[in-house]
Subunit: 301 residues, 2 copies
């Protein structure tokens, strides 16, 4: 997919100021909205996931987008396109998983249609009341870069699943890495603590496309350099640094916030700071201008 190229075309065709962040902030209505899709054989394989877990993940992925904005996740709609062979059990278990993941977020509608493969697209609505909303363009020189938890676990879980050639077994979900991949947790508390306590503009993204992608998006959109100390990035000792940077779907949050906020929040790790300079990410002192994974090959030595 030429996703970035397509987004450029969409932005110029629509001439809209909204396209860019994971959520659109609709100020007149006091809400944020996001939409995210999961496609069979692109985002998941039926052999590696159960209907329950698919419902669970669909909801968490969308709640995570709202958390990245700092808004309070409130409502979800889910559109399902399903092959005609789909059983009632699939629907029931999918929605049990969706409901368990949703917690206080209410699933209020959607759409069901036919299709060849399973396509899922959900929209989430967040309430901005009492919250300051983030934008990836709001990182500023002097800000600290903080994250909500470990990176790379989901990618390692996917790797473990890919080594299998049979359906997922129930007990495998207890494996830390497989669980990170199939049952990610949106960082609701981390998001709320920041957005309820911060006064300045700030940048925040989730790491659905990986930590490296999030850092480069913030650096480019904010026109700053992010200086990262790899020793400070939380990760499981068994996960290599390449996976920490490029493994997607951890759904952790990365934020660039003023230092004075840190005394008011908890559960964060500082991994670096924002500096003036050309849009770039400085990793242990080495400057990268593009998130090309080959640049990180020195971690593989």
């Amino acid at each position: 997919m030429k996703e970035h190229e397509f987004i450029k075309i969409i932005k110029s065709t629509l001439n809209s100021s909204y396209i860019g962040d994971d959520c659109a902030y609709l100020k007149d209505l006091g809400i944020v909205i996001s939409q995210d899709s999961l496609v069979e054989d692109i985002h998941f394989k039926k052999t590696f996931i159960t209907p329950y877990l698919l419902g669970y993940k669909t909801v968490m992925v969308n709640i995570s987008d709202i958390c990245a904005s700092g808004a309070c996740p409130k409502y979800l709609t889910i559109a399902l396109s399903l092959p005609s062979t789909t059983s009632s059990d699939f629907i029931e278990n999918f929605y049990k998983g969706a409901k368990d993941a949703a917690g206080n977020v209410e699933i209020v509608g959607g759409d069901i249609t036919g299709s060849d493969k399973i396509y899922i697209s959900a929209s989430a609505i967040g309430d901005v009341k009492g919250r300051k909303i983030s934008s990836r363009s709001h990182a500023k020189s002097g800000y600290k870069i903080i994250v909500s938890g470990e990176h790379g676990n989901s990618a390692k879980g996917l790797e473990l699943l890919m080594q299998k050639n049979c359906f997922l077994q129930t007990e495998e979900i207890n494996n830390k890495f497989i669980k990170a991949h199939l049952m990610p947790e949106a960082q609701i508390k981390f998001s709320r603590e920041i957005s309820e306590n911060i006064e300045e503009d700030y940048a925040m993204m989730d790491t659905s496309d990986g930590l490296a992608d999030a850092l480069f998006q913030i650096a480019k959109t904010s026109q700053v350099s992010l200086n990262i100390d790899t020793k400070k990035i939380p990760h499981d000792p068994s996960v290599d640094m390449h996976t920490v940077f490029y493994g997607g779907e951890d759904y952790q949050l990365v934020a660039a916030v003023p230092e004075n906020l840190l005394q008011k929040i908890s559960g964060y790790k500082i991994i670096g700071s924002v500096e003036e300079g050309l849009p770039s990410v400085k990793i242990d002192g080495k400057i990268f201008n593009e998130p090309d994974s080959s640049l990180f090959n020195h971690f593989k030595e």
Copy 2:
């Protein structure tokens, strides 16, 4: 698709009061939200539509859902899942069509992913300020049943397209029926006039799934009988009454409203009235309890 069966399972699994109408009315936020999908080879074939028209129709279909609620359509997000062979031209023309259809409604985001076939899911947001929101459960005995325009044109247009075996030619879009199918118009004005002027609860639906479906949904959910006079249903003389009732995708509105409203609105046709009785639709005096199309076979004589 066992759509109605699946929706029953979803309602009972989620135990939600929201599932049922085309839009969910989120009172605390003062908005309605809907989501609707278009799937290649289910809802459209690439040979019968252009990328521009696909973008146009995607937006209109979703705006129509908001119009059915009575809210003011404000914002849209669009998720596209596209084969890797998709060209930049496709994206540009799709969004040109989407923008033209959107008018004052702003497209504020979405998602792009890969897939085997084209899968489109859009969400629309409507503002309820100054409007009374409909529910299909709010038809009451004594109300008049009104519609916004001709029924069956879209189905006839689809039939004309199905007879072709080559790509759509530009001039064919000028055909009244093909245009009704490919470039439906959401009934924004009809919806606004009703929802800004009405004081009582009322029922309104669009005819995306056909006039018969809309009438039966209102009858069943409101627990009333709808008495319809076929002579009063606006339709092109070349369209038979079976197509008028069962042809989908006209995106006209059907509403059950108190008679006193009619002097305050324009552009409607009265096609019948609401009566007490078991949930049913009375067509020219003959009672039908289910929207089984075989029941309407007498129109084919």
